[in-house]
């Protein structure tokens, strides 16, 4: 179908972006003062040992030569070695993708559920107290750092009522619905206000739209108009906003991963950057970029599915 032609176009557009990202990351991180080998061997190591290891990782070469080898190896599926962990980058990342992905998706699922409930409730009772409460809560909660949300949830749910574990990620899918509930809730608490504000406003705007009036003139009930017309017409802006939010969450979950002690990508990236673990940062950046690209892609597909007018 014509409208889905962008499905083919996207990968082509992706190439310059990926090259740009990888080159910039590579140069940036390598130009940043600080030596991963020093960090790996620790402050007590001799200069000899440091030089030896640097040579082993090829870090004594000029940057562009290193980049060239990086690309060459990456094309063969080898992203190099984590200097700090002394293991293949692929493994370091693979171990961590799953928890982060689970966490983000779970958090989003909760956010979506909350957002739909709150925005619908607020819009349907527009101007009345419920609406005002929802609005005020959404406005006021923007400034609460998620670190505190997490900590408070732990103090309440884990220590006082002992309902949930403080930490933990288990390889079992269903266990994690329980284990990762609080971290997902923390994400939801920080994301929901933003989405709800947006969706509520769109709902209200769309409830006043001409086609809604036309629906009323046909004798359709408010509930029907809302669920069949207004609702679907309002989703697009929020879906797009959600795309932005997801891009932000990818790689931005470090605080939540720390508070709930989840071994995820966010932690690893920060750590990689702080220790100048070049190849980890490099590969992780690409993985995250890829995640963001996929997110945008999904948003595009949803957009096209939701709105027959859109052509990308």
């Amino acid at each position: 179908m014509d409208r889905f032609a962008f499905l083919l176009k996207r990968p082509v557009q992706l190439i310059p972006v990926i090259i740009g990202i990888s080159l910039i990351t590579f140069i940036l991180i390598q130009m940043t003062p600080g030596d991963p080998v020093r960090i790996m061997l620790g402050p007590k190591a001799s200069q000899d040992a440091v030089d030896f290891i640097r040579a082993r990782y090829g870090l004594d070469q000029p940057i562009l030569v290193q980049y060239f080898y990086f690309v060459l190896n990456a094309l063969r599926g080898d992203f190099g070695q984590s200097i700090i962990y002394r293991s293949p980058v692929g493994r370091v990342i693979l171990d961590r993708i799953e928890p982060t992905l689970y966490l983000i998706l779970y958090g989003l699922a909760l956010s979506v559920a909350f957002t739909l409930a709150l925005a619908t409730a607020a819009a349907r009772s527009r101007g009345r107290w419920l609406d005002q409460v929802v609005r005020l809560v959404c406005v006021g909660s923007v400034g609460i750092p998620s670190y505190f949300v997490g900590l408070m949830l732990i103090l309440g749910f884990c220590l006082k009522f002992k309902l949930f574990p403080v930490s933990g990620y288990s390889p079992n899918f269903f266990d994690n619905l329980y284990h990762l509930f609080l971290p997902a809730l923390t994400i939801a608490i920080s994301v929901t206000p933003i989405l709800t504000r947006n969706l509520r406003a769109t709902f209200i705007q769309q409830m006043d739209a001409d086609y809604a009036t036309a629906g009323r003139s046909k004798g359709l009930s408010e509930g029907y108009i809302f669920s069949r017309h207004v609702f679907w017409n309002s989703l697009l802006p929020t879906v797009n906003l959600m795309g932005v939010v997801v891009s932000f969450l990818i790689g931005g979950t470090v605080v939540i991963e720390n508070v709930f002690n989840i071994p995820g990508m966010g932690q690893a990236l920060i750590r990689g950057v702080l220790t100048r673990d070049y190849f980890v940062v490099q590969a992780m950046t690409l993985v995250l970029a890829f995640g963001i690209v996929i997110t945008n892609f999904i948003v595009d597909v949803v957009t096209v599915l939701l709105d027959p007018r859109v052509k990308l």
Partner: protein, 481 residues
């Protein structure tokens, strides 16, 4: 009964399981759980006793050490032979990427004389050698396994010789260990296994301890110690060998000026800093090294703050621009507090300290490159013998230039060598007292206070402490009830 698994949480990540490739706290603690050493320190580390070596001889000239091994096995069931010991020491001392070969410079050679006898030859008289044979990087590794697996693979799944054997390692998450059935001390350990978990957030670690998800919380923020104690956790300060200090760069103005250094030293209220930052769990510093070390000179007075004197010294120094940058590694709240206190105290003397938070890796780069004026830092010593400590912090001839301070005093350097070669306790004491006096007079570094290790243990954990060398040396006798 349930398997007795001890769950420990620590704020730094395990980076490698190979004893010779690390100097980090997390790795060091793990090594103690996994590898047995020739000798074994007692709980407070005041003495070394038999470990894998049942007994040992020292030649009269003090250059040849002979160790006699007991019957022992690696976790895979293969016997621990003299060959393995020689291999482990040679590797640690001579392999290029050994992270901490420095203290073993005098070791010339380690050789298996027969299956149970190892002979080590030194190139000079070196009294601290015996105590060094119990630190983490002398853990005995199986030659066959290392050679077969290669260093990298071994570092990820080592074959151990200590109380626990390796089961699993998820980098950035946890190391899982299980009881080593072949451990040389019969009937030990009591535990069935250990989970050593990486929990970076201080508050989360405490919450996990409180929720029963951890049994040991290594590194408790001082602010929460009392609370944990009140809640029934064992949370007493434990003796450490740490010195907190203001690192100063002797090769840069204004710290190249002795009077200025003294002005700073006298302008600082060590007790106030110690009390405020450690909430009474530490002691103000009087010497360059910690009271946990042998030959620590108790008689040296803690320098009392004397603003008038500091001002006079500052005037004498002739330093016109009495200001400097005070670097703090970002994200370390105790360091930051210390820095702010120093800043406030020196302000009254007329010295301006500009606090700058810097990301930790950059801090190290700048220290090593000598591109700094001052920094809040701390260090610990693995053994009670001060030789190692002094070579780290005051030996200008060393690789690290007196802990990157560029302090280099020929007399001190000479005294350090002398102390290492001296066998007799009293004489060593005199040498070390002299060194401590000189370094305080010359303000080699501004030692501030000596903090304790602050850990919290669930009441179920019996008989476990962290010793000054960052080892849970009693781990094989620890039990969960």
């Amino acid at each position: 009964a349930d398997a007795k698994i001890l769950r420990m949480g620590y704020g730094s990540d395990v980076l490698t399981l190979d004893p010779i490739k690390t100097v980090y706290g997390s790795d060091i603690m793990i090594q103690g759980l996994m590898f047995a050493r020739l000798l074994q320190a007692n709980a407070d580390r005041s003495e070394v006793g038999p470990g894998l070596a049942e007994k040992w001889d020292i030649s009269d000239d003090g250059l040849v050490y002979t160790f006699y091994l007991r019957d022992a096995k690696f976790a895979d069931g293969s016997p621990i032979t003299a060959e393995d010991v020689a291999f482990s020491y040679t590797r640690m001392r001579f392999q290029k990427d050994s992270a901490y070969a420095a203290p073993f410079q005098p070791l010339k050679e380690a050789k298996a004389k027969d299956a149970k006898t190892v002979v080590m030859t030194l190139d000079r008289k070196f009294t601290p050698f015996l105590t060094l044979t119990e630190i983490w990087n002398t853990g005995i590794v199986p030659k066959a396994a290392v050679e077969k697996m290669g260093d990298d693979a071994f570092a990820k799944a080592p074959v151990t010789s200590g109380p626990f054997k390796f089961v699993d390692w998820k980098p950035g998450d946890r190391v899982v260990l299980a009881k080593n059935e072949h451990y040389y001390r019969q009937g030990l350990p009591h535990l069935d296994g250990i989970e050593f978990r990486y929990v970076p957030d201080d508050n989360t670690r405490i919450s996990m301890l409180q929720a029963g998800e951890l049994d040991v919380n290594i590194g408790v923020p001082i602010a929460r110690l009392a609370e944990l104690k009140a809640a029934g956790f064992r949370a007493d300060p434990e003796t450490s060998s740490v010195t907190y200090e203001l690192l100063i760069n002797h090769s840069k103005a204004p710290f190249d000026n002795l009077k200025f250094r003294q002005a700073v030293s006298h302008g600082i209220d060590r007790k106030a800093i110690c009390d405020t930052v450690t909430l009474g769990t530490g002691t103000p510093a009087n010497s360059i090294f910690s009271p946990a070390l042998n030959y620590f000179d108790k008689s040296l007075p803690v320098i009392q703050r004397d603003v008038a004197k500091a001002k006079a010294l500052l005037a004498e120094s002739g330093v016109s621009d009495a200001s400097f940058e005070l670097m703090v590694a970002a994200g370390t709240s105790d360091d930051e507090k210390t820095a702010v206190l120093i800043q406030a105290q020196l302000a009254e003397v007329g010295i301006t300290a500009n606090v700058a938070k810097v990301d930790p890796t950059s801090v190290w780069t700048r220290l090593i490159d000598g591109d700094y004026q001052s920094q809040i830092n701390w260090w610990y010593n693995e053994t009670r013998d001060p030789d190692n400590a002094l070579r780290w912090c005051a030996w200008g001839a060393g690789d690290n230039k007196s802990y990157y301070t560029r302090y280099n005093n020929d007399e001190v350097n000479k005294l350090i060598e002398e102390g290492a070669g001296e066998v007799e306790g009293d004489k060593r004491g005199a040498i070390y007292a002299k060194i401590q006096q000189i370094t305080v007079d010359e303000v080699a570094q501004v030692a501030l206070y000596y903090p304790a290790w602050l850990n919290a243990y669930s009441p179920k954990v019996k008989d476990l402490i962290l010793n000054i060398g960052l080892q849970f040396s009693e781990i094989d006798q620890t039990d969960l009830v």
